[in-house]
Amino acid sequence: MNKTTENIIAGFSWLSTILLLGAIISITGYLCIKGYSVLDFRLIFGDTKVFDALLLRKQVFNGLFPAIAGTLVLVITSVVWAIPVGIATGIYLAEYANTAVKGIFNLLFDILAGIPSIVIGLFGFALAVFLHKHVSQAIKPCLLISSIALAFLVLPYIIRTTQVALEGLPEDIRLSALALGATKLQNIAFVLLPKSLSGIMSGVILAIGRCAEDTAVIMLTGVVATAGIPRSLLSAYEALPFHIYFVSSQYTTPEELQTGYGASIILLAICVVLFSIAFFIKRRLTYMAFYRT
């Protein structure tokens, strides 16, 4: 490769990075400028007193609190379904599956990853209808159905990142515990998984982000404009991404649209908090696996 080509590639890489950073700063900056002025307790709790709302003594009717709570419960429930199944499948593909099985499963998960979220939402809706007809009439589109559908949506990320993280471990690490008399399961549990935690957590973080932002899936599976705090997994619920969509498509005054910007900032903040928790858990698990004395 000659010097000019090298310079062009390096220049293009720099330019792409700068453009990306610029886009991120512009979007968050725009959101902050537009939404900053409405960010207050009133936006979140409306006319209800903060403690009354937090202690669930009174319903919040004109604030984002139910949508914030709904989003948090939705994201946590979805990743609770998706993480064990995703990591276990990733382990199976990386450590147990033979080449032929691996090829078939990889293709299937790639297809799953490429399915539009509205189709996953439709699947969730069909599941709700099926359960309503054949299991219990109490089951309708609800938080549980939404979380299962979202889990399907994010499963491929967790599976693939787990598989890639495990397969990417160098041979000396892979064999070190086995050579010391570890069984295959001990090797996976005590060495391979802790060593792959960074890669696995990047999949989990991606999954959290996707669960927090997806609107198409939840629109068909249980989210509503007004539902209050979800009382159980079988209730309808409110969620921030749907609120943002609803406000931006139905607003009647500029002030109403501003609450959408405020909600966007809160949604970003929730993602940051969840990412931080995921990062903290990763550090804690790594410490417990390796560095605890």
């Binding site: 000396d172 892979r174 070190s176 050579a179 010391l180 008399g181 005590f190 390796f290 560095y291 004395t293």
Partner: protein, 242 residues
């Protein structure tokens, strides 16, 4: 040093053939290895020396698309045992046949936990027994004096030579009867290599050692016997020296 068979036999290999992805790497190897001796395995790169070691601890079974035929017997408790017998678990075998790799591979944990790790895997829970065995292993690997005051320090902070001795200590903590060393000094400087050589000579009093080495000078210093690998088989050492 000699090139013939001598003393008590510890390992018997019969008609061993090994292939990886359809390519034959070892072909019909039959060999005997003496007890409490250092046998050096030499030969050019890619002739299957490391692969051969992997057939003695069944580590190759973790490599996809690898196949082996033949028989390997190791004497445990005075009796030869077919290590590929279905009733003989690979994890049990690897506690009796320790392995040290070319590149030091301590786990990213403290020095103490690195050495205690194999004990934990084999179900030892008593803390005082673990502490005693860790100290013994570090002493046998000539590392105790250098690390006794910083056992809780991360093992990755040690020098290359210290890390390799740590890996030897980690194998020794299980009190193996055979130790397989795959080019244990190739990534170390001359001084660190000398310490490892001295350690090998000391260990052979209680352990049967097979060491893969590329350095003929080193082989002359440490080996009681030499096996030359060439073209997937074994050829007499005298010919190799020429």
């Amino acid at each position: 040093m000699n090139t013939g068979e001598q003393g008590n036999i510890k390992i018997k290999v019969n008609n061993l053939t090994f292939s990886y992805r359809g390519r034959q790497i070892l072909s019909d190897i039959s060999e005997r290895f003496e007890e409490y001796a250092v046998t050096a395995i030499i030969g050019p790169s890619g002739v299957g020396k490391s692969t051969f070691l992997m057939t003695l601890n069944r580590l190759w079974e973790n490599i996809p698309e690898a196949h082996m035929s033949g028989k390997v017997e190791i004497k445990f408790d005075g009796r030869f045992t077919d290590i590929y017998d279905r009733s003989f678990l690979p994890s049990n075998l690897r506690r009796l046949v320790g392995t040290v790799f070319q590149k030091p591979n301590p786990l990213p944990m403290s020095i103490f936990r690195n050495i205690a790790f194999p004990l934990k895997l084999s179900g030892v829970r008593n803390k005082s027994i673990i502490a005693f065995k860790v100290e013994e292993a570090l002493k046998r690997a000539y590392l105790w004096e250098e690390v006794k005051d910083r056992l809780s320090q991360n093992a990755l902070a040690l020098s290359g030579g210290q890390q390799q001795r740590l890996c030897i200590a980690r194998s020794l903590v299980l009190e193996p009867e055979v130790l397989l060393l795959d080019e244990p000094t190739s990534s170390l400087d001359e001084k660190a290599a000398e310490v490892i050589e001295e350690l090998i000579l000391h260990l052979k009093e209680r352990i049967t050692i097979l060491v893969v080495s590329h350095y003929l000078d080193q082989v002359k210093r440490i080996a009681d016997r030499v096996v030359q690998f060439s073209g997937g088989g074994i050829k007499p050492f005298a010919a190799a020296m020429e």
